[in-house]
């Protein structure tokens, strides 16, 4: 599990503006101006959010100097998904072990009872 990258993804997703930007990009690529429109925010502020998303690998930006459309990148999102899956299996496996352990404890208690009789 690439921990650092996953943390970067979580950190990037932790901000509502950035999530709204990602939601907008899920409907197709957009320019910085278009992305800035729904927000009461300066262009530099939006650019800062885009840099965080870009560093986390959640978006990709076109090479052209003036027209740099942003596109959503799905891979880090899949890693978040994988992490959730791991969290789930962590608990499922723990519950299996707890089930076995409780049976073992009860067998032990039962045999202790017989021993003291």
């Amino acid at each position: 599990m690439p921990i650092d990258r996953l943390s970067a993804t979580f950190a990037a997703l932790a901000d509502p503006t950035r999530r709204a930007i990602l939601a907008r990009l899920s409907r197709g690529e957009a320019t910085v101006t278009e992305l800035a429109q729904p927000f009461d925010m300066s262009m530099p502020a939006i650019s800062k959010h885009l840099k965080v998303l870009e560093r986390a690998g959640l978006i990709e930006r076109g090479r052209e100097a003036q027209w740099r459309p942003c596109r959503l990148q799905a891979e880090p999102l899949r890693e978040v998904d994988d992490w959730m899956e791991q969290y789930r299996s962590f608990w499922e496996e723990s519950f299996d072990r707890l089930d076995e352990y409780l049976r073992q404890l009860q067998r032990r208690e039962k045999s202790d009872d017989h021993g003291s009789e």
Partner: protein, 161 residues
């Protein structure tokens, strides 16, 4: 959205609920008092908490409101992963609420309830994000229309975090 996904692996029921929670439940063939001990006493807890092949060492387990817990999970490859948190509510033998930190992932808020029925115990754990991180449903609300499938799945996940 009420229920995003539901699955049963072995006997554990897992539900991703619309209010950003992941709910897992499992019935154990043991009285509630015993399950409570297994969940709250370090010598018992270390015997089952974590995936198979991992070794758990509990370094703190002060089960009272404001008390801390910490446990190291050692992976089969020798990697050590530390989990820690704080108890928020402790109501023996039926309910315990604690936070769970792991690396710098969003901290989780975990509520475990135990209900006894006919000598068996239903354990339900509800996990959600403890902070504002991942909490806003903005992502989901912007997800209508031609969202990519992976993105839909993320929205579901964010709701559970």
């Amino acid at each position: 959205m009420t229920t995003a996904a539901s699955s049963t692996a072995h006997d554990t029921t897992v539900t991703l609920a619309g209010d950003r929670e992941i709910v897992m439940s499992r019935t154990f063939a043991a009285p509630r008092e015993l399950v409570w001990r297994a969940v709250t006493q370090p010598e018992h807890f270390a015997r089952w908490w974590g995936p198979r092949g991992f070794t758990c060492v509990v370094t703190a387990m002060d089960v009272r409101p404001g008390g801390r817990w910490a446990a190291d999970q050692t992976a089969p490859d020798g990697g050590v992963y530390r989990f820690w948190g704080e108890y928020l509510e402790v109501a023996p033998p039926e309910r315990i609420v604690h936070t769970q930190h792991f690396l710098d992932f969003p901290p989780l808020h975990v509520t475990i309830t135990l209900n006894e029925r006919d000598g068996a115990t239903l354990l339900t754990s509800v996990t959600r994000a403890d902070s504002a991180q991942g909490r806003d449903a903005l992502l989901a609300s912007g997800m209508e229309g031609g969202a990519r499938q992976s993105y839909d799945r993320l929205a579901e996940l964010l709701e559970t975090m």
